[in-house]
Symmetry: C2
Subunit: 456 residues, 2 copies
C-alpha cells in the first residue's frame, strides 16, 4: 500500500517551475538531476509549456499516460482543486507538500480530511500535507525538496521534515547512507504505522528509524513496531515529551503530542530502541547500520588517552555495561606490542606514544579474545612523533577486517577538525567513528540490549 | 607562584632532539615555531651540539644564563638525576613531561615525592610528572607536545593531558580560543587549586575550565573554586564518577578518584558549573566565552524547523527554562516579515521558506523585545529556494551586532557538513553556533544559573 509511493514509473510534479525561488523547482530538480532514476517525470504548470528541458502540462488531466505518483506544490488554496483533478485522473498516489491545513486550524483539518476521504473512494492514498516529500535512494528517486543522501541501509520515517533533513545531513556527515526517507507532515492519511509496515517488508531497509510527535492508533502502532523490531533494529526519537515540547508540536503538525510516559513504556516493551536526544539517535543508527551484534556483553577498551577512557568507563557503568577482565593469555599476547609502563588492566591505557601498529595489534588481540565481546578503541589523534592522522583508525579497521568484522567495534576518536582524515577512511571502509565517549557508550548499550532481546 | 610557569624569559628543553619520532622534538618544535614567543630557548641533549638551528647543551648546568623554566622529556630513569641538576642550577620552575612514576606504582609515587621535596627546599615548583605540558597562548608559548590552539579567553586546567588536547581540538573546531592551558598529570606538586588561584588573578582568563579526576585538598579546592567563580564562570567536568571510571582513573594518574556525590554537592554550592559530558562541557564553555549573561530567564525561539524547536522545547522544560509569551506589540512588529501561515506563538515556526532577511528581522525584534531575555534562533540550513548556506546565521549575527550584543543568542544550526560556511562566519564574527538542541538548552541553562548566582 505504501510501497507504491516508493516505486512510481511515472511522476507528475504539480507546481513544477524553472524559478529557483520556488519549492516546485527544488523537487523537480531533485527528481531530474539523478541519472539513475528511470521514472518518467511530468512537470505540471498552467503557465509553462516547457520546464527544465521537459515538456510541461497545464494540468494533470492533460498527461496522456497513467500517473503513479503526483506531488503537489501548489498554493494551499489550490490544493483541493488539484487533488480533485488527481482523483479524476486516477493517479495512484499523492504527496501534498503544500502547507496551510491541519497545522493551522480546524478548518484546515476539515479540508485535509475531506480530500483524504474523496481519494479513498478511488483507492488513492495521500502523504502529507505539510511535508518535504519522500525518497527512494535505491532508485535514485528524490521526490522531496531536501538534499539526496548517499545510498545505504537506513530507512527513516519522520513527522518533521526539517528534522528529518537535519538527520540526513548529520548522518551523511557521519558516513551513513539511506534507503528510504518519508516525511509524513500532518498525516491526514498515511501514518507512521503504514510506513513501518512497508519498511518491515522492504529488503533494503535494514535499520528502521522513526521521529514522531504523536501516534494516531496507539495499539496498532505498538503491534507494528513490535513486529518490525523482531527482524530489524527500530530506533525511535519522540519530540514533544514535555508540556513545552507538546505545545510546540501542536503548532508544528497540528497534532496533540502523545503522552510520553505511556508511549515510552510501550516502546520499551516492543523491543524498539528509544532515544532521548539527536546524538543518541544518530549513535544508535550508526551502531546498527555498521556493526554486527555482539555475542556477549563484555567490553574491552584500548586507549592512548587515559581521561577519555575514564569518561567512557563512567558512562559504561551508568548504562550497565560490563568491562571484561583480561586473561593471563591475553596479557601475554599483547606484551610484545606495548611498552613496560603500560598496566595490563581494562581500560588498557597505551599512553600517548602508541601508534597505528600498536592499535592494530591490540585491537586484533581483543577481537580474537574469547573473553571480550565488544572492542572500544579510543584515541585522541596524536600530532607528534611523526604519526599520521589516520594510522590509529587504520590499524583498528585492519584488525577488524582481518577478523572478518565478526565482533562489533566502537571506535571513539576525539579530535575536532583533526578527525577529517579518519572520517574519510571511515566512509571509504563503511565503518563507524564515534565522536564522544557518551555516544559510544550508548551505542554499546543499544547493541547489547538488542542482542539480549533477540536471545529471548 | 604558578604564574612563573607561564611567563618564563628563558626555557630549557631537556631531552630536546631533532628526531621527529620523539616527544622532545614535538615540544621543541612547538616552542620554536611560534614567532611571537620572545623567550630564549635552550635545547639540552648530551648527544648534540646543535638542534633545529639552535646551539644545544649537554646539560642544563652548562647553560650560562638563568633558567626560568625547565621542561623534562628524558627517560623516566634519568628524571631524578636531571631534577637534581635543575635544582643545582636553581631553575625557577620544572615541568616533568616524562611518565613512569606515581601512576605506575608506590615506588614511582615515592620518587616523585622525593623530587618534589628536594625542589621545595630551594623554592622550586614542579608540574607533572606524566603530563603533556602547559601553554600561554597570549605569549605564543606552547610548552607541550600537543597542538597550539587559537588565542582567546578560555583557560583550562586538566588532569588528563590527552583529554585536555581533545578539548583544545574540539573547541578550536567550534571557533573557541584559549589563553592558558595546564595539564598537571600526577600532581606530585602543583595541583588544581594552585592553578585556579593563578587563573583567578589572570586577566586574560575570562572563562575557567577544569577537568579533574581527584582533588588533593578538598576544603581548599572548594574555597578556591568558590572564590574564582565569584568573578569568572568556572566549568567543571569530573572523570571517575563511577566505580568503573574511578578504577580507570587510578591507573591513569595514580590517584584515587574523589567521591562524586560529595564533590558534586560542593561544586554546586561553590557556584561553579558542573557538566557530566564532554558535549555539555564544550556547550558551557561556548556560552560563557562568547555570550553576555541575560537579565532574565525568558527564552524566545524562532525556527524554520518545527521538529528541532520541539526537541529544544523538551530540553528547555527538562532544564527548567521559561518560554517567553509574545506580547501584542511583538506580534505586530514581526507581522510584516512573516507569511500568514505562521502562527505567532513561541517557538515561532517560520516554516521552511524563511530566509536570511526573515531571520534578521525576527531575531532583531526578539532582541529588542523587553519580554524576551534570551534568543534562540534555530535552523536546518535550507538547500532550496536559492538561499545561501549562511544567510540565516548571517541575519542572526547582523541583528545581534546591531543590538550591540546586549542579550545572549543561542543559535542552533543542525546541518552536518552543510554547516561549514556557517562555522566560518561564526569564527570570523567570534560568535557561537550550537549543533544540537540539547547542548543549546544546556547553554541557556548555565547562563541563567550564573545570572541567578550573581544576582544573589
Amino acid at each position: 500500500m505504501v510501497k507504491e509511493f516508493f516505486y512510481p514509473k511515472t511522476i507528475a510534479v504539480i507546481g513544477a517551475t524553472a524559478d529557483p525561488k520556488k519549492f516546485g523547482n527544488a523537487v523537480t530538480v531533485n527528481l531530474l538531476e539523478n541519472d539513475q532514476l528511470e521514472s518518467e517525470i511530468f512537470p505540471i504548470n498552467p503557465k509553462s509549456t516547457e520546464i527544465l528541458g521537459l515538456k510541461s502540462y497545464s494540468s494533470i488531466l492533460e498527461v496522456d499516460k497513467e500517473v503513479d505518483l503526483a506531488i503537489l506544490l501548489v498554493p494551499s488554496k489550490a490544493v483541493s482543486l488539484v487533488v480533485d483533478q488527481c482523483i479524476e485522473k486516477l493517479v495512484k498516489r499523492i504527496i501534498i507538500v503544500s502547507a496551510g491545513f491541519g497545522e493551522i486550524n480546524e478548518e484546515g483539518k476539515k479540508i485535509e480530511q475531506e480530500m483524504t476521504n474523496k481519494a479513498h473512494e478511488k483507492g488513492i492514498r495521500i502523504i502529507g500535507p505539510n511535508c518535504v516529500g519522500i525518497m527512494n535512494v535505491d532508485l535514485g528517486m528524490n521526490a522531496s525538496f531536501v538534499l539526496t543522501p548517499p545510498k545505504g541501509n537506513v530507512s527513516i520515517v519522520t513527522q518533521s521534515g526539517s528534522f528529518g533533513a537535519a538527520c540526513l545531513y548529520d548522518m551523511k556527515w557521519q558516513g551513513l547512507g539511506f534507503s528510504k526517507f518519508a516525511n509524513l507532515g500532518n498525516m491526514a492519511d498515511i501514518n507512521l504505522t503504514d510506513v513501518l509496515e512497508f519498511f518491515k517488508e522492504d529488503e533494503n531497509s535494514k535499520v528502521v528509524c522513526i521521529y514522531l510527535e504523536n501516534v494516531v492508533d496507539g495499539r496498532k502502532f505498538y503491534e507494528t513496531m513490535k513486529e518490525v523490531s523482531k527482524t530489524k533494529p527500530t530506533i525511535i526519537l519522540k519530540g514533544g515529551r514535555t508540556a513545552y515540547g507538546a505545545s510546540a508540536a501542536a503548532s508544528h503538525t497540528g497534532s496533540i503530542a502523545t503522552d510520553y510516559s505511556s508511549l515510552k513504556a510501550a516502546i520499551k516493551q516492543s523491543g524498539a530502541t528509544l532515544c532521548e536526544s539527536m546524538s543518541d539517535y544518530v549513535a544508535a543508527i550508526k551502531a546498527f547500520s555498521f556493526l554486527p551484534l555482539p555475542d556477549g556483553n563484555r567490553v574491552g577498551i584500548l586507549t592512548n588517552s587515559g581521561g577519555s577512557a575514564v569518561l567512557f568507563s563512567d558512562y559504561a557503568e551508568e548504562y550497565g555495561l560490563e568491562l571484561a577482565d583480561f586473561s593471563k593469555g591475553f596479557k601475554e599476547k599483547i606484551a610484545p606490542y606495548i611498552i613496560p609502563l603500560v598496566k595490563k588492566v581494562n581500560p588498557l591505557d597505551l599512553i600517548a606514544g602508541a601508534n597505528g601498529e600498536t592499535y592494530y595489534q591490540v585491537t586484533k588481540a581483543m577481537l580474537e579474545d574469547p573473553n571480550i565481546d565488544i572492542v572500544v578503541p579510543c584515541a585522541v589523534i596524536p600530532t607528534f612523533l611523526g604519526m599520521t592522522l589516520d594510522e590509529h583508525y587504520s590499524g583498528v579497521i585492519r584488525a577488524w577486517n582481518e577478523t572478518v568484522r565478526k565482533k562489533p567495534i566502537i571506535p571513539i576518536f576525539l579530535s575536532g577538525e583533526l578527525l577529517e582524515k579518519t572520517k574519510e577512511l571511515a566512509e571509504k571502509e563503511q565503518a563507524p567513528v564515534f565522536m564522544s565517549p557518551r555516544e559510544a557508550a550508548f551505542a554499546v548499550k543499544v547493541l547489547i540490549d538488542r542482542m539480549k532481546k533477540l536471545q529471548k
